[in-house]
């Protein structure tokens, strides 16, 4: 039923090698040759499993439950995803840093931004916000603030606890959000 053990071994080796290499040299500087050397797998083997460097990167997403903040979606307080995400990022710091930090090259960061935008937008609409261009602009600002916080933290520009970050995020965005919702 489950996959061939050799396959699992090979794939994991490549993924872990890439993460390690990203943390060392940054995503852009990592080459396929680097990966197969570090993972100690044959060149042909690599291309039997992945098409790209990027492919290895994306294959990591599945085990990155950072992006599944179990959105309660209920009418609880807004932006409930924030604190759990920061906490999760702290636990999986190594992996998250490699994939989302500045050294990660960006592609995954862009994906995270998309996912988050949808979540935020839904929350605002659920809270009574009327879909409109100006609401979309607000979503962009909110997500932009969150991602900037996360990035700065992951890259070590900042020392703060998840609670600090969550508080900063809420303080920076909620006033405007309440104003926007109120004047609907």
């Amino acid at each position: 039923m489950s996959e061939d053990r050799r396959v699992r071994r090979t794939r994991r080796a490549a993924q872990e090698a890439l993460v390690a290499l990203i943390l060392e040299k940054g995503y852009d500087a990592v080459t396929v040759t680097d990966i197969i050397d570090r993972a100690d797998i044959g060149r042909s083997t690599f291309y039997a499993h992945f098409t790209d460097k990027q492919d290895v990167l994306f294959s990591n997403i599945d085990e990155l439950d950072f992006l599944r903040p179990a959105p309660p979606a209920g009418p609880g307080r807004l932006f409930a995803f924030s604190l759990p995400m920061f906490e999760h990022a702290l636990e999986q710091r190594r992996l998250v840093r490699a994939l989302l930090g500045r050294r990660g090259g960006g592609p995954i960061m862009a994906r995270a931004e998309q996912v988050l935008s949808a979540v935020v937008r839904d929350e605002l609409v659920a809270a009574g916000g009327r879909p409109s261009p100006s609401l979309d602009l607000l979503v962009i600002c909110v997500v932009g603030a969150f991602m900037a916080l996360l990035r700065a933290w992951l890259d070590g520009d900042i020392t703060a606890t998840p609670a600090d970050l969550d508080a900063a995020f809420r303080d920076a965005t909620l006033p405007a959000v309440h104003a926007a919702l109120g004047r609907t």
Copy 2:
């Protein structure tokens, strides 16, 4: 006195070729060979003037007065840079898009973020904000929101006028800023 005309021609040709190519294929996909073909200059000539693809990119910054929003720094209203910057981005849309948009690869975006962070921080301090870790976090959120807005606009995810963007930026950030300054 002034530089040799040939030098000017060569440098400009390379810069313009790069901008054009970025808009076509994105920064990462552009190769030095692409540039010298498009610019119609010799390979050795290229390397006599630039060390890198990146070098060409950065050489463009000088003629990008987008990053000099003539900060009044006076105690006028906060974030006065916003509207002029969006307007400027509209004028120099082609160049700004190539350098700062998603296709631009990011390095210049990072620089812009730095510059802007300093400006915002100074404004907040001038307005009575006490330097502190939480102020720094606020700065990150404000700049993050601005850059997210700019990026989304440059990449065409949004249709809006500079005035719209400015309004969205102010609406999204000023409430929190005033709250933070008030409770100092």
